[in-house]
C-alpha cells in the first residue's frame, strides 16, 4: 500500500473513510471518493489487464476511461471502466481477458508473434483448406472478447429514466460550462448542466496554478475559483445540476441524452436522461493526445492529467522517478507541481521549439529540473512495467537513457468534439491549434472553453459567458413568451463580452504531430485493438487510404474506448504518411454512445403497457389462458386443452359467451358522414337501414382487404360501426387520410374502450336473453342482421345485434364498459340452467372456420384482395363517384386468372387436418392452408386455403406439403363452403 498525501486542499477523497472491497478474492482498502482504479493503484496494483490481441500488460494511462485496458469485472458486470467507477464497500472486482492473472498471463507470449499478424491478416489466412476455418473460428471466438457474461446473469440495481425539458443544456461542468450556465440562467432561462465527473470543476479542479480575476486582483488558485463557480451554479434557482452524468448522444433539434450514476442517497443505480432543449452549450474541454513511441502503453507510461490528478485529487504519487515527454504547458505545470509534492523529475522533454509559458520555464529552472527542448521519448524500457526510457532528439541523432519508474507522456490536446459532431457539426483541421474544430456548428449550439483551443483561464470563462448568452438569445428568439423586449439588450451584451474577450489570449498554438524516430512495431496508435503505426502503414499500402476505411480494416478505434486514444492520432498519422497528396487530416466518424452505456440504463424503467377488457379479472378467475394479442390481453382458451373441444361443443349444443370487447367501435356523424363511409367501405352505404346491421369491408388502394365489420345507422348521417381489433387504433387516421383533400364536414369518436362486447352464441342464446329483458327478442321481432337498443333492468343501456360469426343463433351486446361485469354476471346467472360457459378466441376461430367466415390476416395476407376471398358480393361497383378506396385496383384485377382464390377443403380418407401454413403444391407452390382443424362438429378435418385459381374448383384434389413431412404428401379435396349449416338455418332461426 502506498502513502497517501492526505492534506491537500484539492483532494476529492476522504482518507479517513475507509472503503473495503474485494479484488480477486482478497480484501483491499480504499478511501471514500476513490475510483476503483485509484483504489487499486493505491494498493500497488500496476497491471490492470491484458490487451486484446497481444496480451500485453496494461495499466493506468488517462484516468478517464479512454481505453479498455483498465476495464474489469465488477460485481459480475463485465467491462466496467474502473477509472470512472467509484469504489464501494463490498464491491467485488476481477481482472479480465487473462489466462492466469494480469500480472502473469500465460498468453503473454503472443506479443512476440506480432509479425504473423499484420493488418487484415485474418482475411488472408485460415481458409485454405476450407475445413480449417471452422476450427480456427472457434479459437478466434475464444481468444476474442474481453469480459464474461453468464446467460443467467441478473443485473442488480434499479434503473430509471427521466425526460426533463430545458431551455439550455450545458454539456461539461468545467469553468466554461459553469460560466455559460450562469450566464443563461441569469437571463431567466431554465438551464441543465451535465458533468461526467462526480463534481463540477473540470480542469480547474485539481490545479493550484494562479487564478487572477479580470481586475488582476484577488489572487487565488484555480481550484478555489472552480469551487466558487460551482457553489454559484449549485445554488442558482434556474439551474439543475446533473453530476456523474455522461452525455452519450446529441442530436438535431437539440436533443441531448446521457446517463447519471446514482450517488449514495439516490434511488437509482443509473438513470437514462433525455433532454429536449432549445439551445445547447458544449464545453467538454480536451483530453490528451497520446504520444506515440515504442511501448508507449507499458504500465508506468501515463498522461499528464492522469499523474497530476492522481496526486492532487486522490493524494497518490504515481511514481518516484519520472521522466516527462510532453508538448504543452500543462505538462510543464504538472512537472513543477509534482516536484513540489515530492516526485523526483529526471527530465522534462518538450517537442515544442517555442511558445512555452516563460513563467513556467522560470519555475522549472528554479527547481533545477533538466529541460530538453526538441526531445521526445523513443522507447519505454521494462517488461511488465516501466524501468527506464530512451529519450532522443526529434531527428533521432542523439539519445539518452534514463532509469525511471514513470514516463509522463503527452503529445498535445484533442478537443472532445463528440457532442458537436454527433449533432452534425462539420469538422475542419485547424493547423494553429492542431485541432479538429467545428466548421459549421449545429443549429442553436455553441462551443466554449478549451475545446476552442483556449488555455487562458479568463478567456475560457469569457467564452463560456458568451456561449451562455448566445444560447439565451436563441431561446428568446424562439419563444415569444420570454418577451422579445430584452433581445436587443442581450445582443449588445454579447457584443460587449466578445469585444472584451478579444483582449484576452486567444487559442494557443498546438504542438505539431511528432512520432519518435522508430519503426513502430510496438508503437501503439490504438490500445484497445493493439493497432500499431506499422499496421496503419500496411493498410495504407494496400489501398485503404481514408482513415474511416483504415479504421475498418485495422479495427483501430473500434474498441470500448470509443476512439478516445486513436481518434486524433490516426487521421494525423495518415495525413502525415500521405503528405504527398497534400490533403488535410480527415477525422474518423464519432458515434453514439460517446461512452459505453449499459443496456439496463437504456432500458430505464420501461413499463409493459397492455390493454385489458372490463372482463379481464373475471375471465382469469374462470380459468382463462391469456395471450397478448396486439395491444390487448385476451383470453384465448378456457382450459389446457388447446383444441377447445368442450368450449366448441358447448356453443354448438348449448350456449357460450365470448368477450369481444377488443373490437374497434366508432361513432361517425356530421353532414358528410355518409360520404366518408362510401369512400372507405366497398359496399353502398346509402343502403344501410335503420334497425339493421350491415356487414362490409374496407380495402386499401391495392384492393386488398384491410378491415371488416358492421355498420349501424343511428340517424341520418349518424352511424355506429365496428372494426377488427387490430384496426381499431388506425381507423380514424384511415378515414381522415382518405378524405384529406375533400374538406368534408364529419366527426368521428373512437368508442372502442367505452363499450364492452359480449357475444352470446348457441341454440339457447335466445332463452338466456329472454330471462334478462322484457324486450321482444323473438325471431320475428329481432331477426338475423337486426339491431335493437334497450335497457336491461332499466339501468344498463344495451346495443344489441343479431350476428352469426360462429354460425349459431348469436347476439352481440355492446354495453358501457363499467356495466359489462354486471351484465355478464346476469347472463351467466340466467344461463346457468343451460350450462352457459365461457369460450375463448381459439374456440371462436374453429367455430367460424367451420362456417367459413374469414378472419383477416388468417384467410388473407398483404396481397389478398376482396375478390380473392370471395367477398366480391360486398363491392358495389356502381358508386364510381365515391372514389372508393380499392375500387380501381379491384376493377383492374378482377379478370386476372392468375390470382389466388379462397377455397374450402376436407382431408381425404378421413385424415387429420393439415397444419395451418402447410403448402398446396405440385412441382411448385400453388397456395397454402390458412386455417384447418379436426372438426368435432363435422367429425372430419376441414379447412380453408388460398390456392391458384385453377385449383379452386370443387372436387379438385389438393396436394399438401407440410413442414417436416419428409417428402410425404397428404391430400385434401376442394369442397363447397361453408362446411357447417350451409343454409344458415341455425344462425337465422
Amino acid at each position: 500500500m502506498m502513502t497517501r498525501i492526505n492534506q491537500l486542499p484539492t483532494l476529492r477523497v476522504d482518507p479517513t473513510k475507509k472503503v473495503v472491497f474485494d479484488y480477486k478474492g482478497k480484501d483491499y482498502v480504499g478511501a471514500h471518493g476513490d475510483t476503483v482504479a485509484t483504489a487499486l493503484y493505491y494498493n500497488d496494483v500496476r497491471i490492470f489487464g491484458r490487451s486484446l490481441k497481444y496480451h500485453r500488460p496494461r495499466g493506468l494511462y488517462s484516468l478517464d476511461g479512454e481505453c479498455s485496458n483498465t476495464c474489469m469485472e465488477i460485481d459480475g458486470i463485465p467491462n466496467v471502466r474502473t477509472e470512472n467507477t467509484l469504489v464501494k464497500q463490498g464491491m467485488k472486482v476481477k481482472e479480465q481477458n487473462v489466462k492466469g492473472s494480469a500480472e502473469n498471463d500465460m498468453m503473454g507470449f503472443i506479443d512476440k508473434l506480432d509479425f504473423m499478424m499484420p493488418a487484415g491478416f485474418y482475411y488472408k489466412t485460415m481458409h485454405k483448406p476450407a475445413s480449417i476455418w471452422p476450427v480456427a473460428m472457434k479459437q478466434i471466438r475464444k481468444a476474442a472478447g474481453l469480459g464474461v457474461l453468464s446467460p443467467d446473469f441478473e443485473m442488480p440495481g434499479k434503473f430509471d429514466q427521466i425526460f426533463p425539458s430545458a431551455d439550455v443544456v450545458v454539456i461539461g461542468g468545467g469553468p466554461a460550462g459553469m460560466s455559460a450556465a450562469l450566464a443563461s440562467a441569469d437571463k431567466g432561462l431554465r438551464v441543465i448542466i451535465m458533468e461526467s465527473r462526480p463534481w463540477l470543476g473540470g480542469f480547474f479542479d485539481y490545479r493550484t496554478f494562479d487564478y487572477r480575476d479580470e481586475n488582476y486582483k484577488n489572487n487565488k488558485q484555480l481550484y478555489s475559483r472552480a469551487r466558487e463557480l460551482a457553489s454559484k451554479v449549485e445554488s442558482h434557482a434556474n439551474i439543475r445540476v446533473f453530476t456523474h452524468t455522461s452525455v452519450v448522444g446529441t442530436y438535431t433539434n437539440n436533443l441531448v441524452t446521457g446517463f447519471q450514476i446514482g450517488k449514495d442517497n439516490d434511488k437509482f443505480t443509473e438513470r437514462y436522461i433525455e433532454i429536449r432543449a432549445n439551445a445547447v452549450v458544449v464545453a467538454t474541454g480536451c483530453i490528451e493526445r497520446p504520444l506515440i513511441f515504442e511501448n508507449n502503453e507499458r504500465p508506468g507510461v501515463m498522461q499528464v492529467g492522469c499523474v497530476h490528478r492522481l496526486a492532487r485529487t486522490y493524494g497518490i504519487l504515481a511514481g518516484e522517478r519520472a521522466v516527462f515527454s510532453v508538448g504543452h504547458d500543462l505538462g510543464l505545470e504538472a512537472a513543477i507541481d509534482l516536484f513540489d509534492l515530492g516526485m523526483k523529475i529526471l527530465c522534462v522533454a518538450d517537442v515544442r521549439e517555442d511558445g512555452q509559458n516563460p513563467h513556467l520555464m522560470i519555475e522549472l529552472a528554479k527547481r533545477n529540473i533538466p529541460y530538453l527542448k526538441g526531445w521526445v521519448a523513443a522507447e519505454a524500457k521494462g517488461g511488465k512495467r516501466v524501468k527506464g526510457v530512451v529519450m532522443t532528439t526529434l531527428d533521432g541523432t542523439i539519445s539518452r537513457d534514463f532509469d525511471c519508474d514513470l514516463i509522463v507522456a503527452s503529445a498535445g490536446f484533442t478537443p472532445l468534439n463528440g457532442p458537436l459532431t454527433l449533432a452534425h457539426a462539420k469538422l475542419r483541421y485547424d493547423s494553429h491549434t492542431n485541432f479538429f474544430v467545428a466548421d459549421k456548428m449545429p443549429e442553436k449550439t455553441h462551443a466554449a472553453g478549451r475545446m476552442l483551443g483556449l488555455e487562458d483561464s479568463l478567456s475560457i470563462e469569457a467564452s463560456g459567458v458568451i456561449a451562455g448568452l448566445k444560447a439565451a438569445l436563441d431561446c428568446k428568439l424562439m419563444k415569444e413568451s420570454y418577451g422579445n423586449s430584452d433581445v436587443d439588450a442581450l445582443k449588445s451584451e454579447i457584443d460587449a463580452t466578445v469585444a472584451k474577450q478579444k483582449e484576452l489570449p486567444g487559442p494557443a498554438r498546438g504542438s505539431k504531430f511528432v512520432t519518435a524516430p522508430v519503426k513502430g512495431r510496438k508503437s501503439f496508435i490504438c490500445f484497445d485493438e493493439d493497432t500499431t503505426i506499422k499496421n496503419i502503414r500496411q493498410a495504407i499500402e494496400m489501398g485503404f487510404d481514408v482513415p474511416e476505411l483504415i479504421k475498418r480494416f485495422t479495427s483501430a478505434g473500434t474498441g470500448p474506448g470509443q476512439g478516445g486514444i486513436p481518434g486524433h492520432n490516426l487521421p494525423l498519422y495518415v495525413a502525415k504518411y500521405l503528405a504527398a497528396s497534400g490533403a488535410p487530416p480527415k477525422p474518423t466518424t464519432v458515434r453514439a454512445p460517446l461512452v459505453p452505456t449499459l443496456i439496463a440504463t437504456y432500458a430505464g424503467s420501461k413499463h409493459i403497457m397492455m390493454k385489458r377488457t372490463p372482463m379481464d379479472d373475471m375471465q382469469r378467475a374462470d380459468g382463462g389462458v391469456f395471450r397478448k394479442i396486439g395491444v390487448w390481453e385476451r383470453a384465448r382458451y378456457f382450459s389446457d386443452d388447446f383444441s377447445c373441444k368442450k368450449e366448441i361443443e358447448n356453443v354448438r349444443n348449448n350456449v357460450g359467451m365470448l368477450d369481444g370487447s377488443t373490437l374497434g367501435k366508432f361513432r361517425i356523424h356530421g353532414p358528410d358522414a355518409l360520404k366518408v363511409l362510401q369512400r372507405v367501405y366497398v359496399s353502398d352505404m346509402s343502403k344501410v337501414k335503420l334497425g339493421r346491421v350491415k356487414y362490409s369491408a374496407m380495402c386499401n388502394d391495392d384492393g386488398c382487404v384491410i378491415d371488416d365489420g358492421v355498420v349501424i345507422k343511428l340517424a341520418e348521417n349518424d352511424y355506429y360501426f365496428t372494426t377488427s381489433t387490430a384496426r381499431a387504433g388506425a381507423t380514424i387516421e384511415w378515414l381522415r387520410y382518405h378524405t384529406r383533400f375533400d374538406g368534408w364536414d364529419f366527426y368521428v369518436v373512437n368508442l372502442t374502450d367505452s363499450m364492452g362486447v359480449i357475444n352470446l352464441s348457441g341454440p339457447n342464446a335466445r332463452k338466456v336473453l329472454q330471462k334478462i329483458t322484457s324486450e321482444d327478442v323473438s325471431n320475428s321481432a329481432f331477426a338475423f342482421s337486426g339491431y335493437k337498443e334497450f335497457m336491461v333492468k332499466d339501468t344498463i343501456p344495451v346495443k344489441a345485434m343479431r350476428l352469426g360469426f360462429v354460425g349459431e343463433l348469436s347476439y352481440e351486446f355492446h354495453v358501457p364498459s363499467s356495466y359489462m361485469v354486471s351484465l355478464w354476471n346476469m347472463l351467466k346467472d340466467a344461463g346457468k340452467e343451460f350450462n352457459i360457459q365461457n369460450f375463448g378466441v381459439e374456440a371462436q376461430n374453429v367455430l367460424r372456420m367451420e362456417k367459413c367466415h374469414i378472419i383477416l390476416g388468417q384467410e388473407s395476407e398483404q396481397r389478398t384482395n376482396l375478390l380473392d376471398l370471395g367477398l366480391g358480393f360486398l363491392w358495389d361497383r356502381t358508386k364510381k363517384d365515391a372514389k372508393t378506396v380499392g375500387a380501381v385496383a379491384l376493377r383492374q384485377a378482377e379478370n386476372d386468372p392468375t390470382r389466388f382464390r379462397l377455397v374450402g377443403f376436407e382431408m381425404e380418407n378421413n385424415g387429420r387436418a393439415a397444419r395451418d401454413g402447410a403448402l398446396i403444391v405440385d412441382d411448385k407452390v400453388r397456395g397454402y392452408v390458412c386455417t384447418a382443424r379436426d372438426s368435432f362438429t363435422l367429425n372430419k378435418a376441414v379447412g380453408m386455403a388460398l390456392v391458384e385459381s385453377h385449383l379452386a374448383k370443387v372436387g379438385t384434389r389438393l396436394e399438401i406439403f407440410e413442414d417436416e413431412c419428409g417428402g410425404e404428401r397428404i391430400y385434401g379435396t376442394v369442397v363447397p363452403m361453408p362446411f357447417y349449416d350451409p343454409d344458415g338455418t341455425r344462425m337465422k332461426s
Binding site: 489466412t125 481458409h127 485454405k128 476455418w133 473460428m137 478466434i140 475464444k142 476474442a144 472478447g145 474481453l146 469480459g147 457474461l149 453468464s150 446467460p151 443467467d152 446473469f153 443485473m155 448522444g249 437514462y272 499500402e541 474511416e548 476505411l549 475498418r552 480494416f553 479495427s555 473500434t558 474498441g559 470500448p560 470509443q562 458515434r591 453514439a592 454512445p593 443496456i599 437504456y602 432500458a603 430505464g604 420501461k606 409493459i608 395471450r627 397478448k628 388502394d701 391495392d702 384492393g703 384491410i706 388506425a730 387516421e733 384511415w734 387520410y737 390476416g857 398483404q862 396481397r863 384482395n865 383492374q892 395451418d916 401454413g917 403448402l919 407452390v925 407440410e962 413442414d963 417436416e964
Partner: protein, 407 residues
C-alpha cells in the same frame, strides 16, 4: 510470410472514355455484378463508378447476417443460392469471408406467428433449405440467454431455426469482390460521381461523371439506398421505393455468449455475436424516407428495452457504437431487378430493403447474366418492376399494410 503490401484493387488509373459496361455503385451488388460479368461472361472492360469509397453504403453498415428462409417460392431459391455461394466465393476469391454458419433463430411470439413460421418453413423445406419450427424450450437450449417466461411484452412461443444461415464478415466481401473483379481487369473508380445518363433513341449511350463522359451501351445502377433517387433523377423512372434509415449497434466485446443469430420481429430486434465478441444488434427503422445516416436516441433506447426483456443477461453489457444505413424498401419487401425494358441497355437492381447483404452474391451473378444476354434469367424474372401495376405484389411480407401503401 505475407509478401509485399500492394494495393488490393489495382493502382488508381485514369478514367477511360468508353467501357463495354458501366456500373454505378461500388457496393456489394455492383462489385458482385462486375465480378461475374468478368468471370462468367468474359466482359472485363467494366468500370465501377463509386461516389465515395467502395463499401461506403449498406455494404459496411449491415449486421452481416445471411440466411435463405424467405417467405415465397420466388425468393427462397435466390437466397439459397446466395447462401451456398459464400464458401465458393471464399475459395474463388482466395479471401477469407469468415462465413460463420452458426444458424439463425427467428423467435415467434404468438400462435399466429407460429403458423406464419410454419408456412415459411414448409416453403424452405420444399425448396431444400433446412429450417425447423422449434418450441420455446428448444430455443432456450440453443440460446440459453433467452427469457422464455410469460411476463414479458412478447412471450416467446417458439422459433424458426435455420441452421445453414449465419454471419459473414461484410467488409471482407467488399474487399474480396473488389480484388477479385480487379484481377480480371475491372476498373474501380472511387470518388467518382455519376451526374447524368444520356440516351439516344431509347438506348443508353453514355454517362456523365465529375471526371468526364463515359460512353457505354450497358449501364447498371445498383447504388443501394441511393438507387431510386438516381434512377428517377437521371433516367426518369419512378420506383415504388421508400428509402428508410435503419440502425444497428454493437456492445463491448465479450467472450462467447451467443452461438446463433437471434431475431425477433415483434421486438424489432436481431442480435448476433461477432467473431470479435461484440453483440451486434439491429433495430427497426424510422418509417419515413431519409437519406440520413444519423442515428436516433429513440432506437438505441428501444433496443435496450427490447434486449432487457428477451435476453435479460445482456442488461449487464454496454452499447459501444450505433450506426445507420439506408434501406430501400418496396411495398412487398422484395427487390426490383429489371432492365433492357424501359430503356435499352439500362439495368437496375434495387429495392433490397434490409436484405441487400445476404443476397448480393446471387443477385450479382444473375444481373451479370441479364446484362450479358439482354434477357432476364428465369431466376430473377419475377422481380420486374411491372408487377406493381399488375397488382401482383410478391408476398414477402404477410402484414396487412396500413395507411399508405408505401409505409
Amino acid at each position: 510470410m505475407f509478401g509485399k503490401y500492394k494495393p488490393m484493387w489495382g493502382e488508381k488509373t485514369q478514367l477511360k472514355s468508353s467501357y463495354d459496361a458501366v456500373i454505378i455503385g461500388g457496393g456489394l451488388h455492383g462489385l458482385a455484378t462486375a465480378y461475374y460479368l468478368a468471370k462468367d461472361h468474359g466482359i472485363t472492360d467494366v468500370a465501377i463508378i463509386e461516389k465515395n469509397y467502395i463499401g461506403f453504403g449498406g455494404a459496411g453498415r449491415n449486421t452481416a447476417i445471411v440466411r435463405a428462409n424467405q417467405r415465397t417460392q420466388y425468393n427462397v431459391p435466390l437466397y439459397k443460392e446466395a447462401l451456398d455461394l459464400w464458401p465458393i466465393l471464399t475459395k474463388e476469391l482466395d479471401y477469407n469471408l469468415m462465413f460463420n454458419n452458426c444458424g439463425n433463430l427467428n423467435l415467434m411470439h404468438s400462435e399466429a406467428a407460429m403458423k406464419a413460421a410454419r408456412m415459411t418453413i414448409a416453403t424452405a423445406q420444399f425448396h431444400g433449405v433446412e429450417s425447423h419450427l422449434i418450441d420455446a424450450k428448444e430455443a432456450k437450449e440453443l440460446v440459453p440467454a433467452l427469457n422464455i417466461s410469460e411476463d414479458i411484452t412478447y412471450p416467446i412461443h417458439g422459433a424458426m431455426f435455420h441452421p445453414p444461415g449465419g454471419i459473414v464478415r461484410h467488409d471482407a466481401v467488399v474487399w474480396g469482390l473488389a480484388r477479385g473483379a480487379s484481377k480480371f481487369g475491372v476498373e474501380i473508380h472511387q470518388q467518382t460521381e455519376a451526374t447524368a445518363v444520356n440516351t439516344r433513341n431509347g438506348k443508353i449511350v453514355s454517362i456523365e461523371t465529375n471526371r468526364g463522359t463515359i460512353n457505354t451501351n450497358k449501364l447498371l445502377i445498383s447504388a443501394g439506398g441511393y438507387s431510386a433517387a438516381l434512377i428517377y433523377g437521371m433516367v426518369g423512372i419512378k420506383l415504388p421505393i421508400s428509402v428508410l434509415t435503419i440502425q444497428a449497434m454493437v456492445t463491448q466485446p465479450l467472450k462467447p455468449l451467443l452461438d446463433h443469430v437471434v431475431s425477433s420481429g415483434a421486438y424489432h430486434c436481431y442480435a448476433n455475436q461477432t467473431l470479435k465478441g461484440e453483440i451486434a444488434t439491429g433495430a427497426h427503422m424510422d418509417q419515413w424516407p431519409n437519406y440520413t445516416t444519423q442515428t436516433t436516441a429513440h432506437y438505441i433506447k428501444h433496443q435496450g428495452e427490447a434486449l432487457s426483456e428477451f435476453m435479460p443477461c445482456l442488461r449487464g453489457l454496454r452499447f459501444m457504437r450505433i450506426w445507420a444505413g439506408l434501406a430501400d424498401m418496396t411495398p412487398d419487401m422484395a427487390p426490383i431487378l429489371d432492365g433492357n425494358d424501359h430503356i435499352e441497355g439500362f439495368y437496375f437492381n434495387c429495392g433490397w430493403g434490409y436484405f441487400g447483404f445476404k443476397s448480393c452474391s446471387a443477385s450479382g451473378k444473375y444481373m451479370a447474366e441479364f446484362m450479358a444476354k439482354g434477357q432476364a434469367p428465369d431466376m430473377i424474372k419475377p422481380f420486374n418492376l411491372r408487377r406493381y401495376e399488375q397488382h401482383k405484389l410478391m408476398g414477402e411480407t404477410a402484414e396487412l399494410v396500413t395507411y399508405t401503401p408505401n409505409n
